[in-house]
């Protein structure tokens, strides 16, 4: 049976967006390599800081912390993929084809989602193989990774669709990425942050990602699922915002 028009379009758009990402592999490669380097360099520091909780606590902190921080920084890959469609004036060219807006958005997000999933899997695997990270519930952890990737994808889509230039995007990712990572307890354990920062931490999606990942690694289903629910909600809200902004069109934007 011949594939439907929708299937043909989805295949063409998926191939197209994957090609676009692979033609500029630098940002993706750096986001894949840097967390591994940082884990190796910072692990002794974390082991020392969390010595009274045991070696495993330090390993969990450094692996999940670097995972959250560098996945936040990887948002730039997702957001840039969307923003460049505006700067190249290609988005309206796609909108003028028979493709649905949903098809355009989904296939635009797909390579970014794949990259985020690969990055997180790679970091976790590295923690297991190189430093003996013990994962009590791999399925729960996979669900946590999935929900965090969805939240990241939504945030990246919303930023890419809302911000007006590459410099604004870079600023948002650099400052926002580090800020949300630090506030979420990815850089240093929450317990050593000032009290006001601990109180503000739940504002950061990074906090919920750290909570979901740590709980999943420890096999604590309740806290993990609660944190995952927050991440999925963040994904839903930010994706809706990005989709609304994109489907309204920006052909006559004077900012680019």
């Amino acid at each position: 049976m011949a594939p439907s028009g929708t299937a043909v379009r989805l295949a063409a758009l998926s191939r197209h967006n994957a090609t676009l990402m692979l033609r500029e592999p630098g940002p993706v490669l750096s986001r894949l390599i840097m967390p591994l380097v940082m884990i190796v360099l910072l692990r002794p520091l974390y082991l020392s800081a969390l010595a009274r909780h045991g070696v495993q606590a330090g390993t969990v902190q450094v692996v999940t912390g670097m995972l959250v921080m560098f996945s936040l920084l990887a948002l730039s890959v997702v957001g840039t993929a969307i923003l460049t469609e505006r700067t190249w004036r290609t988005w309206d060219r796609l909108r003028a084809t028979p493709a649905r807006s949903g098809e355009l958005l989904a296939t635009k997000a797909l390579p970014g989602f794949g990259m985020l999933a690969v990055q997180q899997a790679e970091v976790l695997l590295f923690g297991v193989v190189a430093f003996g990270l013990r994962i009590a519930d791999p399925i729960l952890l996979a669900a946590a990774v999935l929900s965090w990737a969805l939240a990241l994808l939504g945030i990246g889509t919303a930023l890419g669709a809302t911000l007006r230039s590459q410099s604004e995007l870079n600023m948002a990712y650099d400052i926002g990425g580090v800020l949300l990572s630090a506030l979420g307890g990815a850089l240093v354990p929450l317990s050593v942050l000032p009290r006001w920062a601990q109180a503000a931490a739940p504002v950061s999606p990074g906090y919920w990602a750290m909570s979901a990942l740590r709980a999943a690694v420890a096999g604590q289903a309740g806290p993990a699922l609660r944190a995952m629910a927050v991440l999925v909600a963040v994904a839903a809200v930010t994706t809706a915002l990005g989709a609304w902004r994109i489907t309204r069109g920006w052909a006559r934007s004077t900012h680019l």
């Binding site: 063409a12 197209h16 309206d92 084809t97 028979p98």
Partner: protein
């Protein structure tokens, strides 16, 4: 060339009463344009006349506040996706992916238009050959010359044989080779039955294409019809230069444009007849320059005073 996807009496493009307002200004203010299958409609007008807004509206990029659009018999406002499947759109601003090759662009837009496998390969090869792109199919768009980029952009709109084409200034800034290649393909598509809207500031192109005319101003069409009908009644000029002052008996011919030293300039709706009368009256010129009214004259006349001109010209 194969038959177009749609045909019949309801095909082509029909748009009427389109209104699009941005705050207090109207980009479209009752814009209406119908183009029959096989017709090339040259859409001309100053920047801001509403040409590109009209193209964006038919393409489904802009939702009008009022009006109706039918593309190959499909109500484009009620069924925008089905209508877009019957449209080939070449926007005014170049939109290509710098790191994708020309071939990848053509395969993408061909696939999005529903072409697959062998049909897609044939369509890509054909349009690449027509627009002199065969040698650069493997070259990234970011490395193309300006003319190649123009042709590549147009090729993405032409790769599928859609029954309606919207070409928004496809030759703006293009070199002669690009211009000729594009005009040839547009003429061929129209001959095969496509309804073509061709916006441009280069009026001689429309003469070359044998296009009907639609003149836009302030968000509406102020004149519409065949070139011959619209040009009839417009003045051409006869310039006659003498070896010395203009003979006195001929000065009465120069009432419209006047006499300056050794040159007599006459504005006339029938330049050959006027010249014949001048020669019969004893003129012995050293040089004669006869110019018939052209699209530039029509355009200038309409834009100078749209209300009387549109009333006087066939619509």
């Amino acid at each position: 060339m194969s038959r177009m996807q749609d045909g019949g009496p309801t095909a082509g493009l029909v748009a009427g009463g389109l209104v699009k307002r941005y705050g207090r200004s109207a980009a479209l203010d009752g814009f209406g344009l119908s183009v029959s299958p096989g017709e090339i409609a040259g859409l001309v007008g100053h920047n801001g006349a509403g040409k590109s807004t009209f193209v964006d509206t038919v393409s489904g990029l802009i939702r009008p506040d009022a009006g109706r659009v039918s593309v190959a018999g499909i109500d484009a406002l009620a069924h925008p996706r089905q209508a877009r499947a019957r449209l080939g759109v070449c926007p005014q601003e170049t939109g290509l992916y710098p790191r994708l090759t020309v071939g990848e662009h053509l395969r993408l837009f061909g696939a999005l238009a529903g072409l697959r496998r062998a049909a897609l390969r044939r369509a890509v090869d054909r349009v690449a050959e027509q627009l002199c792109l065969t040698d650069v199919l493997g070259r990234p768009a970011g490395l193309l010359s300006g003319g190649q980029r123009k042709r590549s952009q147009a090729a993405t709109a032409l790769v599928a044989e859609t029954p309606v084409l919207l070409l928004d200034e496809p030759t703006a800034g293009a070199d002669p080779q690009t211009r000729q290649a594009l005009l040839a393909v547009v003429a061929e598509r129209a001959a095969a039955g496509a309804a073509v809207v061709y916006t441009t500031h280069y009026l001689p192109e429309l003469e070359e294409l044998g296009a009907t005319l639609a003149v836009a101003r302030a968000g509406r069409i102020i004149a519409r019809g065949g070139q011959a009908a619209l040009l009839s009644g417009l003045a051409g000029t006869v310039n006659v230069r003498f070896d010395g002052p203009v003979p006195g008996q001929l000065r009465r011919y120069g009432q419209v444009c006047g006499v300056t030293g050794d040159e007599l300039r006459v504005a006339t709706s029938d330049p050959p007849a006027t010249l014949a009368r001048l020669l019969a009256a004893g003129a012995a010129p050293v040089s004669i320059d006869v110019s018939r009214p052209g699209l530039d004259d029509l355009y200038a006349a309409l834009i100078r005073d749209s209300a009387p001109a549109s009333a006087a010209l066939p619509g």
